[in-house]
């Protein structure tokens, strides 16, 4: 069974329809990439998966998003539980203005873990996972906003992993990073896919081709094509996909 099933999803910002009849199945422990030109609705689709769009006034949604057999758009969905399970990494690294330690421990503390020993263990595990532990194990009190952008983005991923999500949504996680940092983060994603279902939005087609197992191409609110990354890139079924991939629109 797929981890996430999106069925007949339509989303309106006021009168403007940003998603049109989107259907997609996202596989467990795979990396799924969403590509498409600017403004086609990639971020919007991503944000429907943990209901971050609820924060915006005037959003209306029809259809369903089923995660682990549960429709998250039912009335009684527990948003807190949903977002613990489906976490998000943002385009610009956004660590809190706290120490490294407090950034990682933040979610766990709020979810009720108080014991120092257990928090220490969570922090170590999460930082090891993103390869920051060796560099910072003696400097956990460093102010997070003083780290490099790549380190900040790793920290944000660690902060998310610390609350043990199952799905990690990433909205252009490398667009603020240089090529070396980008390559490092891509490698990290590849490691993480053992344990997490990852959905990544990217502008960078090489990136999608490199890291993802499945790719969806969006255009003007529609999911035009969706399939194995290899076949989407080498033998796209839709002419528009082909035009986009060969670089005919921006």
């Amino acid at each position: 069974m797929s981890m996430i099933e999106v069925k007949d999803l339509n989303l309106y910002y006021g009168d403007f329809q940003a998603l049109i009849d989107v259907n997609v199945n996202i596989d467990r422990r795979k990396i799924t990439a969403l590509i498409g030109p600017s403004g086609c609705g990639k971020s919007t689709l991503l944000r429907t998966l943990n209901r971050m769009n609820d924060l915006i006034d005037g959003v209306r949604i029809t259809g369903s998003v089923i995660i682990d057999g549960e429709d998250i758009y039912r009335e009684k969905t527990d948003l807190i539980r949903l977002r613990k399970k489906v976490g998000m990494v943002f385009q610009r690294p956004n660590p809190f203005p706290l120490s490294i330690y407090d950034n990682i421990a933040y979610g766990s503390r709020i979810h009720g873990i108080r014991q120092r020993g257990e928090l220490d263990r969570i922090v170590e595990t999460a930082l090891s996972r993103v390869h920051l532990w060796e560099d910072f194990k003696d400097r956990l009190d460093r102010f997070a906003l003083n780290l490099s952008l790549e380190q900040q983005q790793r920290l944000c991923i660690a902060r998310l992993i610390a609350v043990t999500p199952e799905v990690v949504l990433m909205d252009e996680p490398c667009s603020a990073l240089d090529p070396v940092a980008t390559a490092n983060i891509e490698e990290l994603m590849y490691e993480l896919k053992k344990d997490y279902t990852i959905v990544i939005v990217t502008h960078n087609m090489q990136q999608a081709a490199r890291v993802s197992d499945r790719t969806g191409f969006m255009l003007l609110g529609r999911l035009i094509e969706y399939g194995d990354t290899g076949s989407v890139f080498t033998s796209p079924r839709d002419k528009k996909t082909e035009e986009y991939i060969t670089g005919r629109y921006g």
């Binding site: 977002r83 956004n94 979610g107």
Partner: protein, 283 residues
């Protein structure tokens, strides 16, 4: 005769410079007069003793203490109320006619003359709620007066916390209220405190709002509870200057100097807090 651009510029600069000098002059004059005529009055006894001989001698301690109590009482009432209102308006309220009404009310509240607050406090707290003329009634009256300042400052401070912090927290499965409590408020706190101190320091110098609600003409002891009256610096100054014959002007100037110094210290505190945030803020 046609002026060259260089001359025009010189003239413009002079006019601008003059304008700013005009702003500074009263401050300098007030301070120098107060210091020249008031400083001789200030000594340990003046600051810590009860007034004697119908306020013509002794100290002004009860008035200093009274003003401190009122400042504290105002902060205790107005800070939580103002912050909660601001949190509601910034974080929860949607834009609709209700919130627009509230915002209009806040703006108008800021423009109400202080004597009107005094009369309002007299009617509501002193008479209707039967608090009598008391620290409680006075603090509540001053609180209502500074509320618009605190709400406005808090709203600004809350709005300046980046949206990305809120999103990051919510995306970790943290509830909205916890996000506000653990991320938004701590980051907005310096701004909130600056606004609060500035508002309260202005209130500390006001006479009209405390005239009918708390201030005692002559009360050479300290209040025992919030239901007692107390003396207060601005009103004491007014009394000394207009109601008591044959006061040594030294005492009047001394009292004014203490009041101005108190307000000045509070404002300075606000500047320190603000400088501190500037130093730390990095987003």
């Amino acid at each position: 005769m046609k002026l060259s651009p260089k001359w025009k510029q010189r003239i413009a600069f002079s006019v601008l410079g003059l304008a700013s000098v005009v702003v500074i002059v009263p401050v300098i004059v007030i301070f120098s007069i107060l210091i020249e005529k008031g400083l001789p009055a200030i000594n340990w006894e003046f600051l810590t003793a009860m007034p004697r001989m119908g306020m013509r001698a002794g100290g002004i301690f009860p008035a200093i203490a009274g003003t401190m109590y009122l400042v504290l009482g105002t902060i205790v009432v107005a800070l939580p109320l103002g912050v909660l209102a601001a949190v509601y308006l910034v974080e929860y309220a949607r834009q609709n006619w209700m919130t627009r009404m509230i915002e209009v009310a806040i703006v108008n509240l800021a423009g109400v003359p202080s004597v009107v607050y005094g009369l309002f406090g007299l009617g509501l707290f002193v008479i209707f709620l039967k608090f009598g003329s008391s620290i409680l009634a006075g603090s509540l009256t001053l609180s209502i007066m500074v509320l618009p300042v605190i709400i406005t400052a808090s709203k600004e401070a809350l709005s300046s916390v980046p949206q990305s912090f809120r999103e990051a927290s919510l995306a970790l499965g943290v509830s909205k209220w916890q996000t506000i409590r653990c991320i938004v408020l701590p980051n907005a706190l310096p701004g909130i405190l600056t606004g609060t101190i500035l508002g309260v320091s202005r209130a500390a110098g006001e006479t009209a709002p405390i005239l009918f609600t708390v201030a005692a003409f002559y009360l050479p002891r300290l209040p025992k509870s919030v239901f007692d009256q107390c003396m207060a610096l601005p009103y004491h100054l007014y009394v000394l200057s207009t109601q008591v014959p044959n006061v040594n002007p030294k005492i009047q100037y001394g009292t004014a100097l203490v009041l101005v110094a108190l307000v000045f210290i509070l404002n300075f505190l606000a500047i320190v807090v603000r400088a501190h945030i500037r130093g730390k803020k990095q987003w």
